[in-house]
């Protein structure tokens, strides 16, 4: 047996190679299938009226504008809080913090935060922002809740890309009379920026698609107008999709898939932007 295998080792290798390729292809199938299915089912619903109008007839007709705008608001709101805080924390962890038990604990905490179920964040947001801080069910409370959920992703990807900037750049910069902060601002941040941006977008993308954290903190079932201030509640795509799929009887299936398609397009566009940034930066990178 051994001898046969040895003689046919090219054949064995080719079999193995084919098997691995097949599995790689298999993993792509569900993703592609989801996208195509949603596209086919949802495309007929897409029209200018659908994208720019308000829901009518108990949401069984009309458009989904308030949900689209709401998701935009929530994404921007989340970015406002989580991006500066996340990047600052990453800079501290990567550039300033000494390797002590305390900083190691902080790192482990951040990694574990990423594993908390999103509905738990939702309840936490309800308790802290909506009730205790009296922000009410609002864009503000929902954005803050989504920020806390997004922070671990932003911090860990940002720290990772800061760390990947070669140490030698820092040493050289300092030896030329730069302060630590000048070195970070002029060299390290500049080189790490594409990686940080990628992490930020991926984090925000997840926030944009979440339902549970906004369920108790800022999402509205139906609003006849767009929100005016951060203290207003808002409709949002993922929650709207949940509502029209489970709470509204005799819902036309087209509208459900149309809504899913818009949400998918929103998230995939962000993903595409992240990919473009990353590949462009990689082509331009000088180390």
């Amino acid at each position: 047996m051994k001898r046969i295998l040895a003689r046919n080792r090219h054949l064995v290798q080719r079999l193995g190679f084919t098997g691995i390729t097949l599995m790689a292809v298999l993993t792509v199938i569900p993703i592609v299938a989801v996208v195509i299915y949603i596209l086919i089912q949802g495309a007929p619903a897409i029209s200018w009226e659908f994208l720019s109008g308000f829901p009518r007839d108990g949401m069984r007709a009309g458009g989904i504008l308030p949900a689209i705008v709401g998701t935009l608001y929530l994404t921007v709101g989340t970015a406002v809080f989580s991006v500066p805080l996340g990047i600052a924390a990453a800079i501290y962890l990567s550039e300033y913090a000494a390797d002590t038990p305390l900083t190691r604990t902080i790192r482990i905490a951040i990694i574990n935060l990423a594993g908390i179920p999103s509905v738990v964040y939702g309840l936490f947001g309800l308790g802290l922002f909506v009730l205790f801080l009296k922000f009410g069910t609002s864009i503000l409370a929902a954005s803050l809740t989504l920020s806390i959920m997004t922070l671990p992703v932003i911090i860990s990807t940002a720290e990772e890309s800061l760390r990947s900037v070669p140490q030698a750049f820092r040493t050289v910069s300092i030896s030329l009379g730069a302060t630590r902060w000048q070195t970070i601002r002029r060299i390290v941040l500049k080189e790490a920026l594409p990686g940080i941006l990628t992490g930020v977008i991926l984090g925000l993308e997840r926030a944009a698609g979440e339902t549970a954290p906004i369920l108790f903190t800022g999402a509205a079932f139906f609003l006849p107008r767009l929100p005016h201030t951060p203290f207003d509640a808002t409709m949002a795509l993922p929650y709207h999709l949940f509502v029209i799929s489970t709470q509204v009887p005799e819902m036309p299936i087209q509208i459900q898939y149309g809504t899913a398609l818009v949400l998918l397009a929103f998230v995939l566009t962000m993903n595409l932007i992240a990919t473009v940034i990353r590949s462009r930066a990689r082509a331009k990178r000088q180390w």
């Binding site: 040493t171 300092i174 030896s175 030329l176 730069a178 002029r186 000088q286």
Partner: protein, 252 residues
């Protein structure tokens, strides 16, 4: 000749217990090449990094002694390290150009020092590239990324980058260890020119290079200064047996 740097009884130990210095006393002459040589782990790089306080970036367990540059103790915590590093420039073993254009590499330190005038910056770029003997090779592509240059060219860019700050002392830590003989020759030739104006301390990458370049030479072994003399004396008639053994290739 004037003593530019006076090192008095300098001892140092890193937190991780590696490389250390034990009671080093050494006077470095102005406008000459002083070579620190010896086997790896002897403390040469450590000593260099004390001179521009780059050791501040490393965890040091204990240190004692003084380093006087122009009479000022640079190990004093109150010393302005930024000003010190502009006065004491450093070239590293591996050429590390910053991820920017050749011109920006040259002006980086000056801009941090507050120089904004375009004419001054351009003048510094040209002057220092000429001093580092690389002007003719790069003058037509100053705005290209510095990383596109060859290793030998990059190392001369690193030398020029230090010269742009008009330092008084230049530290070179095995600057030619990764270079081919032709590039090495160019760097050594540049040093011979530079010592007319600058105080140079060189950790060479071989005994041969030490002998070629040294006006003064100091032999280091396991954190101790074994022998220090004029180059031509030390390499022909060393007084210490260990120096002789190392110079003649019996160990190391």
């Amino acid at each position: 000749m004037v003593d530019k740097i006076i090192i008095e009884n300098l001892s140092l130990q890193y937190s991780d217990g590696t490389e250390s210095l034990r009671g080093i006393s050494l006077n470095v002459r102005e406008k000459a090449v002083t070579v620190l040589f010896g086997p790896a782990g002897g403390g040469k790089s450590t000593l260099l990094r004390c001179l521009n306080r780059l050791n501040d970036l490393t965890e040091v367990r204990t240190s004692s002694g003084r380093i006087l540059i122009d009479g000022e103790n640079v190990l004093d915590p109150k010393v302005d390290v930024i000003a010190l590093r502009r006065k004491v420039g450093m070239v590293f073993a591996r050429p590390v150009v910053l991820p920017m254009s050749i011109r920006e590499n040259l002006t980086y330190g000056l801009e941090l020092a507050g120089e904004k005038r375009r004419a001054k910056l351009d003048e510094a770029v040209e002057r220092s590239l000429k001093l580092a003997a690389i002007w003719d090779e790069v003058k037509d592509r100053l705005d290209d990324p510095a990383i596109a240059l060859s290793g030998g060219q990059q190392q001369r860019i690193c030398l020029a980058r230090v010269l742009a700050l008009q330092p008084e002392i230049i530290l070179l830590d095995e600057p030619t260890s990764g270079l081919d003989p032709i590039s090495t020759g160019k760097v050594e030739a540049a040093l011979t020119e530079l010592k007319k104006e600058y105080t140079i301390i060189l950790v060479p990458h071989s005994v041969q290079q030490a002998a070629r370049t040294a006006d003064y030479a100091a032999f280091f072994l396991q954190g101790e200064l074994i022998e220090y003399d004029e180059g031509k004396t030390l390499f022909t008639t060393p007084k210490d047996k260990r120096t002789e053994d190392y110079v003649t290739g019996r160990f190391g």
